[in-house]
Symmetry: C2
Subunit: 124 residues, 2 copies
DNA sequence: TCCGTACCTTACTTCAAGGTGGGTACTTAC
DNA sequence: GTAAGTACCCACCTTGAAGTAAGGTACGGA
């Protein structure tokens, strides 16, 4: 074994660097961006129109974070008017697939959640 | 077709009720709680010790939200001192499985993320 | 008698997420 | 000529999420 012990990443550790990464992909807008880019690349304003309620600021911020982490590829063409295409990297495609499954699951099981809430609320 | 059109749930809609649900399961502590409960039921303070950095307040709040949505089952035994066991409902087990896969994926791909960040940061 | 454990709740405070509105630089459509 | 689209960045301010701290209860042990 090596002299310096290399700790395996563990999200349960307060200071584990995997925490922020997980938070980026599960963030409010991160989830929706990844799910949306799953089926095809989008331009900035296309994404903005597709995802209801995102402000330009938050969309730009979210895309930057995801790009920095290596999930999103940004392709800026030096033309006027500006044209920027966002797509998933191979790594991004893997997470997006999982996120997408999760979003579809939630959509499909909404009724179950509502039923649970009714039971819960009636019990008090 | 029926007279009243029933819109299918769509996370991309601002007002779609699936949004909050998705936010609950992908919330900072929600993710970690679900992942932790995946392998076995936990008591409150067990969870608190397992998940680094949660305050009692946030853990209680997170558990309540997940219970109300029907993902977590709360079993409070009327004994002194209080004993409360938290476990996953069948619905909860389905999401937890996905969340768990995601967390493992992130842990396993941390190096890829770091590499991407280095490339990104050096480019400016 | 006071500490410690277990499972919370409430009040107070802080900090970051997010919204708003402005600016840029250029083009096409009205 | 003026408005709108494109893809942002920047500064300001509000809101809500989260942290901190303390209280509450019923007991068991020192």
């Amino acid at each position: 074994m090596a002299v310096s012990e290399v700790r395996a990443p563990n999200v349960n550790r307060v200071d584990c660097p995997s925490r922020p990464v997980l938070e980026h992909v599960t963030s409010r807008w991160g989830v929706l961006v990844l799910a949306e880019l799953r089926d095809r690349p989008h331009r900035f304003s296309e994404l903005r129109r597709a995802i209801g309620g995102v402000s330009e600021k938050m969309l730009a911020q979210t895309l930057q974070t995801l790009e920095r982490d290596g999930f999103v590829d940004r392709d800026a063409k030096p033309v006027i008017p500006p044209r920027v295409d966002y797509s998933l990297t191979p790594m991004g495609r893997e997470v997006a697939e999982q996120i997408w499954t999760l979003t579809r699951w939630v959509e499909a099981n909404l009724d179950g959640v509502f039923a649970a809430r009714e039971t819960y609320d009636k019990a008090r």
